[in-house]
Amino acid sequence: MNAPHAVDQRVALSNMPRHQQARVADVHWDTLSPPEARRLRELGLDEGVRIELLHRSAFGRGPIACRIGRMTVALRRHIAGAIDVIPAA
């Protein structure tokens, strides 16, 4: 199971610095609407997948662009807030 230090390293994707490589640790599927959750699955989001925040849009609360696996995906902040990641060393 997860070692305690791994749990401590968890960060919400929305709070990651840009271009920091990471892996998806946990997704709070229950905070997402069923269509959102399904579309995210279809876009390849899964525990353990490589993820990297690429761009934040202008004016604070706009969407973000991130790389999930090999795909670039645009999503809104509240979804990014539901994705916990562990930064790669």
Partner: protein, 621 residues
């Protein structure tokens, strides 16, 4: 004789499916509709290497066999043999993006499991290599148990081998008898995804980290400041180009129409038939066909932005702004398409999952200035706005045109804001979409798209617009005033009398008789307004030659500037288009929303045109 085998092209969105379809079928394509749903059916003929014909059908892009939109539903139903109006395909070509195997293989696994003969096109292999990815198609073929062929659809590479493989699997037929089934093998999406990832890893020979082009371009295109400036610059160039680049071809078409009118006048004796042909048909249709160059330039920009992958970036940049009026960035693509025509724009709203979001987008789509409004704007601007530069390279006419577009956009935003607080109240949905890699669009694909648009436009000009102008010409020509009467022929005619009725309603907002006469026929298509006004003058002054230059002269003599401006504002808002109303009915399943749309847009148009007129009069224009 047996019909040609049916082969379906299936794949994720952004796998390059349509490019492959174009590459395989060339211009031999048919665009139809699936019965009962507003999903377009693209089909075409293709010859196998041995000369046998195959019917190829390009299915809408889908992420899985678990549909979340009408488009994805059609894809699922066709490959499972349950779609009405389509037989079960004899084989499937699965199109996957070579650089995105992790994801696209999941859908491939689902499709292979159906049991139909399958060929996989490992598409855009050049872009994958550019990204430092080396793949082994043989490993994939072995693991999937179906042929896998590398292709580059936009460059027409790998097509012969693909056809060869297709011929072979068609020959072999399905591994076991296929029965149409309602429920395809349903494996849980997580398991499938993990299998796909493992498979992708196996097929990857090497992966060198290179700085990807897409990321470099995105560093600019998605930049909060530069990205926004770039988007504005692209839109501005697009609208300037519509005016600047179209002048020469417009003059050629105009010349051709004038010559045609002259030839017909010379060949026929004066009378009913000559007047019908020259004043009615040639003047009316000619007045609309001259706008073909502008419409094609606009579509060329939109198709290029779409095919290059930029459109989704624009949606990303716009999401924040869209969210502020309760819409999603996804609405940006249907709304931008509505600049070409609201009908495809409204159809494109199907990609919006949330029902309230979608409805709001449909209701404001007609406020985006469609290409049919261009003829009206263009003739009015040509007549009343001087052609001079306000800045080097920035013409005043282009600037006015740009402001008309902006007026529509601002109107749409306020409308959305109010609609979302009232009739379409609800939680706002999210914005979640894939950003495809940038790609140079293939000129042939663009030309094919433009050709299809041109055909649709010319068909409209030849049918709806021609018949409306003829009916209008008849209503304007009869009854003839008695000889010696001082009443003008137009005022005496049936149309003139109807126009006087309408005029009572629109006179307060500065509209004259010509406009009142044009409003009704312009319901069939906005651009008919120009043709209608042209016909009015042609009948009032039968000695004048028809044509755009004369129409502009007539407008300058008969209209005041406030009236012209009010007329322009009317066209920014008024729902002057039967097709838009019809498509809204179809997409919202009833008359309630189209009726609401027509009501609120006419009210808006009346107020905006009235305000413009009175302000213009007050400041002494």
């Amino acid at each position: 004789m047996n019909p040609a085998p049916l082969v379906a092209l299936v794949g994720n969105p952004n796998a390059g499916k349509s490019a492959l379809f174009n590459a395989l079928t060339g211009a031999r394509q048919k665009v139809g509709n699936y019965p009962g749903v507003t999903v377009e059916r693209h089909s075409g003929r293709m010859a196998l290497p041995d000369g046998r014909p195959v019917e190829l059908v390009d299915l809408p892009g889908a992420y899985s066999l678990d549909p979340s939109s009408p488009d994805e539903q059609v894809t699922r139903d066709v490959v499972t043999g349950t779609q009405t109006g389509e037989r079960l395909p004899d084989a499937i070509v699965v199109v996957v993006d070579a650089a995105n195997l992790d994801n696209h293989l999941r859908f491939t696994l689902q499709l292979v499991a159906l049991g139909l003969p399958v060929v996989v096109a490992l598409n855009m292999i050049d872009l994958a290599e550019r990204d430092g990815l080396t793949l082994d198609p043989n490993v994939l073929a072995q693991e999937l148990g179906v042929p896998v062929l590398p292709t580059v659809a936009v460059r027409r590479r790998g097509l012969d081998a693909l056809k060869e493989a297709l011929a072979t699997v068609l020959q072999q037929g399905p591994a076991h008898p296929i029965r149409p089934s309602d429920h395809p093998v349903a494996e849980d999406i997580v398991t499938l995804q993990r299998r796909a990832r493992a498979l992708s890893e196996k097929a990857t020979v090497s992966e060198t980290a290179v700085r990807r082009w897409t990321h470099r371009l995105d560093a600019v295109a998605l930049h909060p400041v530069f990205g926004t400036l770039l988007l504005l610059a692209i839109l501005f160039v697009m609208f300037q180009a519509v005016f600047a680049w179209s002048q020469a071809p417009i003059d050629w078409i105009q010349g051709g129409m004038d010559a045609l009118g002259g030839a017909v006048s010379a060949a026929l004796p004066p009378g009913f038939i000559r007047s019908l042909l020259v004043d009615g048909l040639i003047a009316g249709v000619g007045a609309v066909v001259v706008f073909l160059p502008q419409i094609l330039i606009l579509f060329a920009f939109i198709l290029t932005l779409e095919a290059s992958g930029y459109m989704v970036r624009a949606a990303f940049l716009m999401d924040r702004l869209m969210a502020s009026v309760g819409l999603s960035g996804r609405a940006f693509i249907p709304l931008l398409s509505s600049f070409a025509c609201a009908v495809p724009g409204i159809m494109a709203t199907r990609t919006i999952d949330d029902e309230k979001d979608r409805l709001t987008t449909i209701l404001i789509a007609p406020l985006m200035t469609c290409s049919a409004r261009l003829p009206v704007y263009s003739i009015m601007i040509g007549a009343f706005i001087p052609a001079r530069d306000v800045l080097p390279g920035v013409g005043l006419q282009g600037l006015v045109l740009f402001s008309l577009y902006v007026a529509g956009i601002i109107g749409a935003f306020f409308a959305a804001l109010i609609l979302r607080k009232t009739v379409t109240k609800g939680a706002s949905s999210g914005f979640l979409m894939e950003m495809p890699k940038y790609q140079w669009p293939h000129p042939k694909d663009l030309l094919l798209g433009l050709w299809q648009r041109a055909l649709i436009f010319l068909k409209r000009a030849g049918t709806i617009i021609a018949s409306t102008t003829i009916v209008l010409w008849l209503l304007l020509s009869f009854p003839k005033p008695p000889i010696g009467s001082t009443v003008s022929p137009v005022d005496y005619s049936i149309a003139g009398r109807i126009g006087h009725g309408i005029e009572k309603v629109v006179a307060p907002i500065g509209f004259n008789r010509d406009i009142s006469l044009a409003l009704l026929p312009a319901m069939s298509a906005r651009e008919v307004a120009v043709a209608a006004i042209g016909t009015v003058y042609a009948i009032d002054n039968p000695d004048q030659p028809a044509g755009e230059r004369n129409l502009i002269q007539n407008l300058r003599t008969h209209w005041t500037l406030p009236t012209a401006l009010a007329f322009l504002m009317w066209f920014v808002f008024a729902p002057q288009c039967i097709s838009t109303i019809a498509i809204t009915r179809r997409e919202t399943n009833g008359w309630k929303w189209p009726a609401f749309m027509v009501g609120y847009l006419f009210a808006l148009a009346y107020i905006a045109a009235g305000a413009t007129y009175w302000i213009a009069v007050a400041i002494g224009l």
